[in-house]
């Protein structure tokens, strides 16, 4: 028996092994994807069933924790009265306008403080102080300064969203690898060209994280903003229900916020996906 009869050619065997590994890899990824989908649906479904059971079995009374059936009835009531249809566009417009102002300001300030020492010296300390202000405490002040129209609502949302954008942009710019900057300089890039070609693209992931976070904060700020002379809006619905002992509407409003949060997050992920196609997607398991 010759050696060639005993063992298959090594290249062919390695090819098969690689093919087998690839098939197993594909199967693993498929299994993982289906597991992910399954868990994303089943876990919330189990929680909703437990929630309903807590009421049916008397673990929690309907006032303390209204069951999902009551929440659905609350949605029906709000829909029939046209409250949701009226509230959503108004709230989204307020959140969107405030977010656009806050994010623009945060981006400009973050770039300023990140790119120039003098920008950091002017803006960083005041912004670090301002970002710790509890916004609930300044609502009366905002009324004094900005009146009772739309301005204080938008300023409140903008003020809440400026900080995440500023901080992330600033740290994104400051965190650019020095070797990249040196490489750019070796190729003759200076000033604006260096900023536009090297620093800003490298800082973009951090800025987009800031935008994603700020988008969520804009929804949270709505609850406070819509305490100021608002008769429509999701925040107004929640505040009003809270004052009139309608926990079912409060939870319904919270779920609308949760849904909006998911929608906003998906949009931000899509924006990141298209803006940062080169970024690797790393996950363990």
């Amino acid at each position: 028996m010759t050696t060639s009869e005993l063992a298959p050619p090594p290249v062919k065997e390695a090819g098969r092994a690689l093919e087998s590994l690839a098939v197993r890899g594909r199967q693993g990824r498929l299994r993982s994807a289906w597991r992910g989908r399954f868990l994303r649906i089943v876990v919330p479904a189990v929680l909703i069933v437990l929630w309903q059971l807590s009421s049916v079995l008397g673990w929690a009374d309907e006032f303390t924790l209204p069951p999902p059936s009551r929440i659905i009835a609350a949605y029906q009531e709000l829909w029939a009265n046209g409250d949701i249809q009226a509230a959503l566009p108004i709230s989204l417009k307020r959140a969107g306008t405030g977010l656009a102002i806050g994010v623009s300001l945060g981006l400009v300030l973050g770039l300023f403080a990140g790119l120039w020492k003098i920008g950091e010296e002017i803006f960083d300390a005041p912004l670090q102080m301002l970002r710790t202000i509890p916004f609930i405490a300044v609502v009366p002040l905002f009324i004094t300064w900005f009146g009772i129209g739309e301005t204080p609502k938008l300023v409140l949302i903008a003020a809440a969203t400026v900080f995440p954008m500023y901080l992330n942009t600033y740290h994104g710019v400051r965190g650019v690898d020095k070797k990249l900057i040196e490489s750019g300089q070796t190729f003759g890039l200076r000033g604006w060209r260096l900023a536009a070609r090297v620093i800003l693209p490298t800082a973009l992931p951090a800025a987009l994280t800031g935008l994603r976070y700020a988008a969520g904060v804009s929804l949270l700020a709505l609850v406070l903003a819509e305490q100021i002379n608002a008769r429509e809006g999701i925040g107004y619905l929640v505040n009003n229900a809270n004052q009139n002992q309608r926990p079912d509407i409060v939870i319904a409003g919270i779920l609308i916020y949760a849904l909006l949060g998911i929608v906003v997050d998906v949009l931000m992920r899509l924006a990141e996906h298209f803006a940062l196609p080169w970024r690797p997607r790393v996950a363990i398991g």
Partner: protein
């Protein structure tokens, strides 16, 4: 680069400052010279009820009714001239006087209480003191060592400090639990987290109806009028045209409470249910209370005496900074024209 940075900084600061000047003043009247009266309410049912009553049509002035929740925000809106009149508690202006840096009894008050509305003989008096039966509290004196939930400002706080004063207790003798609003205080009581609460019946109905809790004292027992107070600024009352608008509004408002509201249960409850999303049960309770509401004379010395007692009790409880004569904040400018004799 530094120049660009400095110019941009200056522009940003300028934009911020110009935004500050954007607030509209309630004192701005229209081009034809018609007065605009901006009346701040705390809940959206009021504007809807005023409209439903039909009593505020064809006004000789323009009426605006923004909804601004909470006494602090109402006072801010009034001081900033975003409103001319605001709905608060009957003692809010008195508390402002006791917290002011200067003594308003010696200088001109910055804010006046000009009217009050209360539901005397209401079936569900508020604020009241409710206690859990399990806490074994049978008299005010037995509150010693017990936890009492309340929220700061307004009638609830007035009720709380009068509970202490009437019981001969201080805040050190009890376990005070201050919560952000009336609903939070009531929720802590319903959940069994505290022994007592100062609130309205509607907020704790469930535990009272089930027999887990009882009402120990009403607002009348405590010496608190309850209901709502209406505040305004000196410059509003000094402006003849605006004062005429205020007087006209309260004349109609008085008629609204004495005639329209008690005779239109269905319309009132519909507003509570559609605008405030109240359950039919709660809207009925609120109508039954509201049907007893009437404006009262704030120039009445007996009323002012009760207010002084409340502020004195609040000072002892640490709720206001100064022990002051607060009688000057009550300006009975509409008593004669709007309050029934």
């Amino acid at each position: 680069m530094k120049r660009i940075a400095l110019i941009t900084s200056a522009l940003l600061l300028g934009a911020t400052l110009s935004a500050c000047g954007d607030s509209a003043s309630a004192a701005d009247d229209d081009a034809a010279g018609q007065v605009t009266l901006t009346f701040g309410f705390q809940t959206a049912d009021y504007p809807a009820l005023l409209e439903a009553s039909g009593l505020f049509k064809d006004l000789p002035y323009k009426l605006e009714t923004p909804v601004i929740a909470g006494p602090a925000a109402q006072i801010s809106a009034l001081y900033s001239k975003a409103t001319d009149v605001g709905l608060v508690g009957e003692n809010t202006a008195a508390f402002e006087a006791a917290n002011a840096a200067d003594d308003w009894s010696k200088s001109k008050p910055k804010v006046y209480t000009i009217a009050g509305v209360t539901a005397k003989d209401a079936p569900y008096p508020a604020p009241s003191l409710f206690v859990r039966k399990s806490a074994n509290i049978n008299s005010l004196a037995e509150l010693r060592g017990k936890s009492i939930a309340y929220n700061f400002g307004g009638n609830i706080y007035a009720g709380y400090v009068k509970v202490l004063a009437n019981a001969g207790l201080t805040v050190k003798d009890i376990k005070p639990v201050q919560l952000p609003d009336n609903q939070a205080a009531a929720a802590s009581f319903v959940a069994g987290q505290v022994d007592a609460v100062v609130t309205g019946y509607a907020n704790v109905k469930r535990v009272v109806d089930s027999g887990e809790a009882v009402r120990l004292a009403t607002n009348a027992d405590l010496g608190v009028i309850g209901g709502a107070g209406f505040i305004s600024r000196p410059d509003v009352l000094e402006d003849e045209a605006r004062l005429a608008a205020v007087k006209d509004f309260f004349s109609r408002f008085s008629k609204f409470y004495s005639e329209w509201y008690p005779n239109n249960e269905a319309a009132v409850e519909k507003v509570y249910q559609t605008v405030l999303k109240q359950t039919p049960e709660l809207s009925k309770i609120n109508w039954e209370n509201g049907a007893k509401s009437r404006l009262y004379k704030i120039g009445d010395p007996a009323f002012q005496k009760t207010q002084q007692e409340i502020v004195d009790a609040a000072f002892k409880a640490g709720g206001v900074k100064n022990e002051r004569d607060i009688s000057s904040v009550f300006n009975p400018v509409i008593d004669a024209s709007a309050v029934p004799q």
